[in-house]
Symmetry: C2
Subunit: 435 residues, 2 copies
């Protein structure tokens, strides 16, 4: 059905967004709250079912749409009361992710949610958990997020925490969420409240959307006593469980699944069902003022080694850079030819950090001859840091330290990015087949 | 103890490598077959225990070493009889991995195993499975393997299969094993026997070494009716089970664990316990001659996108290349700035293929605006191919096709590298926590 026809039908029935309606079409009956439509959706109408899921309905035949009540709108009116003194206050900082744009990640600037009322329309349940102040600081696709954005987010986050917010939720595109969470982990000090990044893998007009559950779980974590930067996303594909990932130890490991994020070389900080469960070892929030120390040296690059990489290409890639993170093979190796090229650039003062393209596991350059030659060439071990986390850390360290201090700081655990000892079981087990 | 003192003790007791001995030291008694020592080992003596495990013994006090019998040597003598007509014949091609060098990966050229007798000394059980012809074609660290080596291995493999071998085992460093397995998958056609790559994650003087079990499992697979290139390595960390991975769908995902290898976007081809279990969907070996079609265009590069990548660095990285594989974020995205740079190089004739740095999942550039701009710029979807597999495939395709055929072939499944449909469950599940 054409969008303007749908609009006309709704208008005739005096139905507005937020109203509780019944739709009969294609032999099926749907009841729920009418959500705003948006340009990108394939569906004609999107409603929020009573079980909390959203469903997009395609109308290609006779349809009847009935207003059941203005109920949810009235409810929303009372729920969005921003200052229930008994509840904690959470600030939601929108950066362009699905949730903060109220509708779809892809719609970008089309429907930015700039008030708590707009958020309430989609996820009124959040007001059972907290008072919410929403603010959209920019609207960007995840892949367009740059280091300057990390600084902006960090500054806004500290400002919110220092002006009364008990916690902060940052909605963010999932593509580069873990780069941002790593950056915030190094930039934000003395956290006096939880900082939670969340997003969604499925657009909100699909019944399988994870947007609402991720946001609700994030609100729960944002009102906990966590004093770290965390990513909160679906932990299992279909259960109601979200996992709480440490900002420096998380990576998007699947392009489309709802449980795309994985804890790497460490266990999650905890999980969320109807409440927050934090495991031992998390950092508690402190008192005093949160600090955003956002200075970065962005003149660094990240390079995954591959068998065909020649030294010319390598040298061009790192030309003029003050630092480079290499994701080597296995325990942290590159070919003999690249060892020589690294020696050259390291000798000229470029900081070279070795991580592993295996993603899981630790770098150990003491085991094999190649590793020992890399150490001799001045390469710094990235220990069990993710390549992406090491990249962000190197930007931060190069902006704050000089000379020998750089190596020292890269090897020192600042924000949970380096594990003291390897957690052998922090690697997903593979199926054992039965004969 | 000094190595020459150990040597002297052994000589006094008339003990040679392969003999069955008893060692008493530090209040413990060890019984087993004496294995060759090697320069890199921290241990003074390495023996193979009766349970099949190897153990390295450090002597730092009184010691008694006793010859129990020349038993194992005699046994080996009979076992290594190369032409037992009742058993299949397997060719082992050594390229520098742990097993073929008979001892440690790190020792490189020190102990190349160039005859079946030398292999037998370490893993005599293999002769219960097959007749073995071993040949060392070169001795390289995994990280030093280059595309020219892939060609050499492919040619040797075809030669062996076409001159009587029922199957081929290629021992290889684990660091770049999956690059080589992908290359062989594209190069080898009309396989008339299994081609199995194997290696080990732990040096053979450690009780936890996986070398022997991986080799035995590989021998079983090499005598099966598989007609594909496979990687056979530990599937679970401690059980006796090895997994059989399709050569184009496997990646080393841990720097040190024995079960480092993972099947990506597809299930393993099967598994091995005391016999080979192949799942439905594997390709059976054919008749006729195996063909090694080794032509590659190596003028390509692989680039993992990161938020700070600027177009200058990108353009330098792909300067003069005929092809580039990008591991973008999520469904296959890069920043707007890099989209423009890609448009530039694609317009000049460089083939650009998009994969995802998530590792798991499929590229889909039709979902978001960035993806659609990439398609307009001429970027080819890598579908659910691994970035590393796409790199190798692009080398092969650019050497064999021109013009529009390149795009067509990159999107076509040649060697199991592209799944027709996404296997949702081919992603390791994460723990569901209990409240």
């Amino acid at each position: 059905m054409r969008k303007d026809e749908v609009k006309k039908l709704l208008k005739e029935a005096s139905i507005e967004e937020g109203d509780f309606i019944e739709i009969r079409t294609g032999g099926k009956t749907y009841r729920g709250m009418l959500l705003p439509s948006h340009a990108f959706s394939q569906s004609d109408i999107i409603i929020k079912l009573e079980n909390g899921y959203n469903v997009g309905i395609v109308i290609d035949g006779p349809v009847s749409i009935k207003l059941i009540g203005k109920k949810s709108r009235a409810e929303r009116g009372s729920r969005s009361t921003p200052h229930n003194g008994k509840k904690p206050t959470v600030s939601l900082i929108g950066t362009g992710g699905t949730i903060a744009s109220r509708i779809d990640y892809a719609t970008g600037a089309v429907h930015p949610a700039s008030t708590s009322e707009e958020i309430a329309l989609s996820v009124p349940e959040i007001f059972d958990i907290c008072n919410l102040n929403a603010k959209v600081i920019f609207q960007k696709f995840g892949e367009d997020i740059a280091p300057s954005d990390w600084a902006k987010i960090a500054e806004e986050t500290a400002k919110e925490l220092n002006s009364g917010a008990d916690g902060v939720i940052i909605s963010h595109g999932t593509d580069t969420m873990s780069y941002t969470s790593a950056a915030l982990s190094f930039m934000l000090k003395n956290l006096n409240g939880p900082v939670v990044l969340t997003g969604s893998q499925r657009s909100s007009d699909r019944p399988s959307s994870d947007a609402f559950q991720n946001l609700l779980a994030s609100a729960r974590v944002a009102t906990s006593d966590l004093g770290e930067v965390a990513v909160v996303m679906h932990g299992t594909p279909s259960s109601g469980q979200c996992h709480i990932y440490r900002g420096t130890k998380v990576r998007k490991m699947h392009s489309s699944r709802r449980d795309a994020f994985r804890s790497i070389n460490g266990h999650p900080l905890g999980f969320v069902d109807s409440r927050v469960h934090l495991f031992r070892g998390y950092r508690r929030k402190g008192n005093g003022e949160a600090i955003a120390d956002t200075l970065l040296n962005t003149n660094v690059s990240l390079l995954y080694y591959y068998p065909n990489l020649d030294s010319d290409t390598f040298l061009r890639m790192v030309e003029g850079k003050e630092g480079v993170v290499i994701a080597g093979t296995g325990l942290g190796h590159v070919s003999n030819e690249i060892v020589k090229a690294i020696k050259e650039v390291a000798g000229e003062g470029t900081t070279v950090v070795m991580t592993t393209q295996c993603i899981w596991g630790r770098v150990n350059m003491n085991v094999y001859a190649t590793g020992r030659r890399l150490i001799e060439a001045g390469v710094i071990s990235g220990e069990d840091m993710l390549p992406e986390t090491a990249l962000v850390k190197l930007m931060w360290v190069l902006a704050h330290f000089e000379g020998d201090e750089i190596k020292k700081m890269m090897g020192k655990n600042i924000a949970g990015e380096i594990s003291e000892r390897m957690l052998y079981d922090a690697y997903p087990e593979q199926k054992k087949y039965m004969a």
